[in-house]
Symmetry: C2
Subunit: 548 residues, 2 copies
Amino acid sequence: MISFQTSPDRYRHWKLSIEGNVAKLSMDVQEDVTLADGYKLKLNSYDLGVDIELADAIQRIRFEYPQVRAVVITSLKPRIFCAGANIYMLGTSSHAFKVNFCKFTNETRCTIEDDSRHSGRRYIAALNGTASGGGYELAIACNEIYLVDDGNSAVSLPEVPLLGVLPGTGGLTRLVDKRKVRRDRADVFSTLAEGLKGKRAKEWGLIDDTFPTSKFQEAIDGVAQAASLRAGERVQAGSLHYSGIELHPLVVESTDSTRDYKYVSLRFHREKRYADLTIRAPENELPTDPDEIQKLGDRYWPLRAFRELDDALLHLRVNEPEIGLVCIRTEGKIDEVLAVDKALSANRDHWLIREIILQMARVLRRLDLTSKSFFAIVEPGSCFAGNLLELMLASDRSYMLNNPEESVEIGFSGLNAGALLMANGLTRIQSHFLGQPEKADLILEMDRSFDTEDAQDYGLVTFAPDDLDWEDEIRLAIEERTSLSPDALTGMEASLRFAGPETMDTKIYGRLTAWQNWIFQRPNAVGPQGALTNYGKPSKAQFDYKRT
Amino acid sequence: MISFQTSPDRYRHWKLSIEGNVAKLSMDVQEDVTLADGYKLKLNSYDLGVDIELADAIQRIRFEYPQVRAVVITSLKPRIFCAGANIYMLGTSSHAFKVNFCKFTNETRCTIEDDSRHSGRRYIAALNGTASGGGYELAIACNEIYLVDDGNSAVSLPEVPLLGVLPGTGGLTRLVDKRKVRRDRADVFSTLAEGLKGKRAKEWGLIDDTFPTSKFQEAIDGVAQAASLRAGERVQAGSLHYSGIELHPLVVESTDSTRDYKYVSLRFHREKRYADLTIRAPENELPTDPDEIQKLGDRYWPLRAFRELDDALLHLRVNEPEIGLVCIRTEGKIDEVLAVDKALSANRDHWLIREIILQMARVLRRLDLTSKSFFAIVEPGSCFAGNLLELMLASDRSYMLNNPEESVEIGFSGLNAGALLMANGLTRIQSHFLGQPEKADLILEMDRSFDTEDAQDYGLVTFAPDDLDWEDEIRLAIEERTSLSPDALTGMEASLRFAGPETMDTKIYGRLTAWQNWIFQRPNAVGPQGALTNYGKPSKAQFDYKRT
């Protein structure tokens, strides 16, 4: 079982150090410390274990060190920054694992960009040596890229020429959409196994500048200082007045069929290929003053509940591949959830509240991007309101009990109006009512709760069976869903969940990932003569040259 | 060898009739007239041959019957409109063929929408019976959908539940992005094998209305009349004053290694897996008055050359799968090409000129979407200017000879500034300079030709080798390109060609097609126990339920 929990004192591959306003994240991969057998992590290549530490470090910088305004990502290995995802790991992994691995590393890259966009922190890739494949993709997730000019070090995306697959963590998309490298040059660069060095790399926009070896460290220190001064106003404000909070390990109790956190529970029905995911509302009144909230730290419900939800989603993805459907349930009082949202909305400019809201948004996006079906089950005792209503709106369908004897309600809060955006830049209520934007506005303006008939009249829920049909209908819906082709469902859900506008993020997930998925299946990559299979062997890949 | 040329007198599956301002396209598929053995086209299901006729009919309506303002698409079979792509054909086709088939049918759907958007013609799907799968996808490419209310006929997308694949010709995207069906309802609809009938189909926005059997024909006639009155101004203006031109069959001469049209030539170097594609400029001065142009009809260079180019591209796609690289060359005088563009630009409001420009734009988009690498080879005697410059800008790379002894130029025309848009809504020069939009504007304003040094300084070409290196560099580039994994190249090119904004069309091709590609490869669809393989057999599909 793969665990996504770690902390700096347990890191094996990264060193996190903080000096004033600058954090330094140094990659120093231990080649024998791998998640699975059969490969060594040479040349700062990475597997999922390395990226779990990186994701943890970014998260900690945001919560534990709000004074940080610039983050330098570099390597402790001489002449090599990072050789990207380990090829032998990819060669020995199942298709499902590869896809989940690429998705998680993509999400980590997007978290860096999210921090930069919304919290104003500047990320600097200090390439003290060659950055190839995923190593260069990590670099282009940063705001600035500097490459040592030692006559040897290069940046490269050698996946197409060497491995017969694509740069899988957003490389191609970021190349042309973020760094806006000319598409013909991007074509040349992406087919050049050895990549490009110094002057040409800069001229083509692949890096921002080069520094000679002897002055590299000094130059990077200067760049980092300058970047920390240029950092966004938000992080500047935060960094002057606040110190961070500590993120403690999540407490989890597991049995074969359950996984329980404080506010989140999973129940696995493996023979039926579905799971129940329950989120509980806070038990009692929580502080509303940001300083008191900060004293609560990571025990504060929205932070804890959404960290737990994040871990549960990752667990479902990687450790429970056969679970095809997740029934989302909530328990507790709507008013308690709405009170939390009110406190969050009122203090959105406080650094911690801002980070908490941004974290909730990221977890919800993780749900949008999870290749499982989600059904929201809205029953008496549930509390699909405000931030938890997003779970219903993120689901592929919702079922709400219609029983006049036993009322059930859903409700909106200010957070539904723009704080928890999807990857396509829409709110989930906008996405739900893509054809009737005025309805989304109207419902938000009404600022009230909806009982079942009301929710049905306004088109908020998919189905509202009465109490006689309820159990049968849910049971049949689960049975039917879990009988369908899991691949077709993955493609269908990815297509239907993101209607409307596209962003760089949706392109990375919806388009690039789909291409990568396809290529990772093809004999030209993974067959006995495929390029990925043959990497590092004396034999050469044999291709079926038919173009499709 | 599959031919893409046909004409109404040779149609086996469609009947085209024109009555006043209304065209009727009636589907009556002959089940034994198939492109390959091993399947029968029952229930108005289709293979590529059926869609080639449909594409031809749409094209002819636009050029031969400009008076038509509304097009009714219906069926001559009782109780069935169209059962979609033939499943047994899909089950027995190679992966490459399936992908090319889906792409072509998608392009035909987009041509319908292009006609509606740019020429104002209204398309009406008159569903006299059930429309399932590709049959319903054809319907949602139309502006209006009417379903007979006979208690039995339904619309459906049964691919996910019955076949374990996706609706492959834009169905899912059009459902949520064009018709803006709520995503949770789209989820339900797309997993419901039997689809939805009358009232609910209308309530969910899947159709516009229903009419009872006895009044169906009459109602459709009324709807078509009303639609022809509501048709866009452009087609209204055209239809009052002009009669159409005839599209004659293209004349092609072929040998084993060549395919020659009047203005377009293909040379196949199969052992090296590349082809030369040459387009020749018009020989002499052409009329500039639209009435005189109309007298020339389909002999007019831009129409003929681009019809030939279209056919050459389709031939390359379907009949030459192992050709991975196409070197685009042009021959002739830049001035002659620019003179044509000037005449086209000056008469853009004339119905025929409008249709010719729109056709050129569609052919160029077909090139953008062709899964082959394109290198533009810019040599002395070439004429990459105006409309032909788009071929260079559409290429993945360009090579321009730098020889002071033998000058070569490229040039711009008004058509480069917005008449020939890519599927993402950008001009190709905007796409080329995505990171420097002011440069694209500047170059268009300069309105002049560029010699090699100039073109290089302005960043218009990828490489400009001198005459000593020229032959070696081109040869090496060809060798290198054709040695790479064809799958990785397809994914890479699809990612790099469409930077910047996304539209419904780019979503259909870039995202949906990629998902479909992947799913079409998976054992859950095409393995011995796959759903597609097992369709219609007594055995049931067996899935590997791991979600990826």
